[in-house]
């Protein structure tokens, strides 16, 4: 379970998160939406400790992410994150991209790490690209590679940070299909996205963030048809 309590975060005196609280239970798919600059991406980066926080707490399975004694490298094995800009390793083949962390972080023997990597690449539909470098893959394929790379660590939680925003429209579908597959497999996930159709069909819960706060949350059917807050209604009018 991910518990976020009253989290504050500033960048150079600009307050990006202003007291965010939310819970994500095991097996739940939460989609976070909101206007640009509302703090969605920052929240994800704080959840796996890539960004420090100024106040509040984030706990993952009762381990405080920003606690003094927390071994972040160990904690991050539990939480995969996929970024908007893929951030694949350009000097490694697809197979090496995916097997690197299992090999050097989980200390799996090379053969075993590669077998697991191959399985993940097959899962995201890249079985025929094992020996290709990212530079030879399309944006959608690179993003699926990034997803496979995170999955190879067998995380309990997955964070997706606007992973379709940098893609050409015709490539969005293949990446969303991968997310749907993970959803069916019961992966616990927090997904920041602007894809409202995906949010509506795949989320257990929608969280709407605005100006660094959680403005409203609820199941998609309710959220999209009967939003309570005026700000939510205004945002939904603009994006749907």
């Amino acid at each position: 379970m991910i518990q976020i309590r009253d989290v504050y975060k500033s960048f150079h005196r600009v307050e990006v998160l202003r007291g965010v609280s939310m819970d994500v239970r095991g097996g739940e798919a939460v989609v976070v939406i909101g206007p640009s600059g509302s703090g969605k991406s920052t929240l994800l980066q704080c959840i796996n400790g890539l960004e420090p926080i100024d106040a509040g707490t984030i706990r993952i399975d009762d381990v405080e992410v920003h606690g003094r004694g927390t071994n972040l490298n160990r904690l991050r094995r539990k939480i995969g994150i996929v970024f908007q800009q893929y951030n694949t390793f350009p000097h490694l083949t697809a197979l090496e991209n995916v097997s690197l962390a299992p090999r050097i972080v989980l200390k799996l023997p090379r053969g075993e790490a590669e077998a697991k990597a191959e399985e993940q690449l097959r899962r995201v539909g890249l079985a025929d690209k094992l020996n290709e470098r990212p530079g030879r893959l399309s944006g959608g394929q690179q993003q699926r590679l990034a997803i496979a790379r995170a999955l190879a660590m067998q995380p309990d939680y997955m964070l997706f940070d606007e992973i379709t925003s940098a893609l050409d429209p015709e490539l969005v579908g293949e990446v969303l299909d991968t997310l749907r597959m993970l959803r069916r497999d019961g992966m616990t996930m927090i997904c920041v996205t602007h894809e409202m159709r995906f949010a509506r069909e795949a989320a257990d819960r929608i969280v709407f963030m605005d100006e660094g706060r959680v403005c409203e949350e609820g199941p998609p059917a309710e959220f999209f048809t009967q939003p309570r807050e005026a700000r939510t209604r205004q945002f939904l009018r603009q994006v749907t």
Binding site: G80, F83, N87, F89, H91
Partner: protein, 219 residues
Amino acid sequence: METSSVFTSLSLQDLWFLVEGASRTLNLTFWSCIFGTLLGIAVGTARATWPAAVSAIFGVYVDVVRSVPLLIQFILINAALAVVGHPQSPVTVGILVLSLYMAAFVSEVVRGGIAAVPLLTRRAARSLGLSWFQDMRYIVLPLGTRAVLPAWIGLVIGLVKDTSLIAVIGYIELLRAGQIIITRTQEPMLVLSGVGLFYFLICFPVSRYSMRLEAKLAL
């Protein structure tokens, strides 16, 4: 009575003298390149990753070494070692000075190489649970090396030629060997062409190999 000239013509022995000079040049280059590159990597990494205050201290070293002519550094360090009671052989002083000189330049190249690796790529590595050291070893080193390989090769080629300045503390390497032969034979054009050819034969393979390596490492 016939007077014999103080000048004598070129002989095969002169060629061997040049070959020996070239081997000394190679020796100086080899060790200075290894020590200079290792020290440069350490200083460059420290400057790129440690707090600004530490970076500034190393910055003074880099600025001084890069700004003062190498010739002066040879003379000063050679003299300084003698003054403090630890005089060293010219070749030791030469390798020491050239290594420090090379390291200053390499450190800047390394700093550039680390900066060339996108922060987001490194973030992705850390998000997978890689430690700082593993990120440096498996992501930054291979990507940064690709970015700075041409610049580093340029430094190595420069270093080969900079070794000639060691003559100022009395060490005979390739160029100094050539000058000695010129003094005796009065054949500057021929000897200097030969010396130039030796430098070319040392540098050209390095340059060609680096081009092949670059092509091989291209992403």
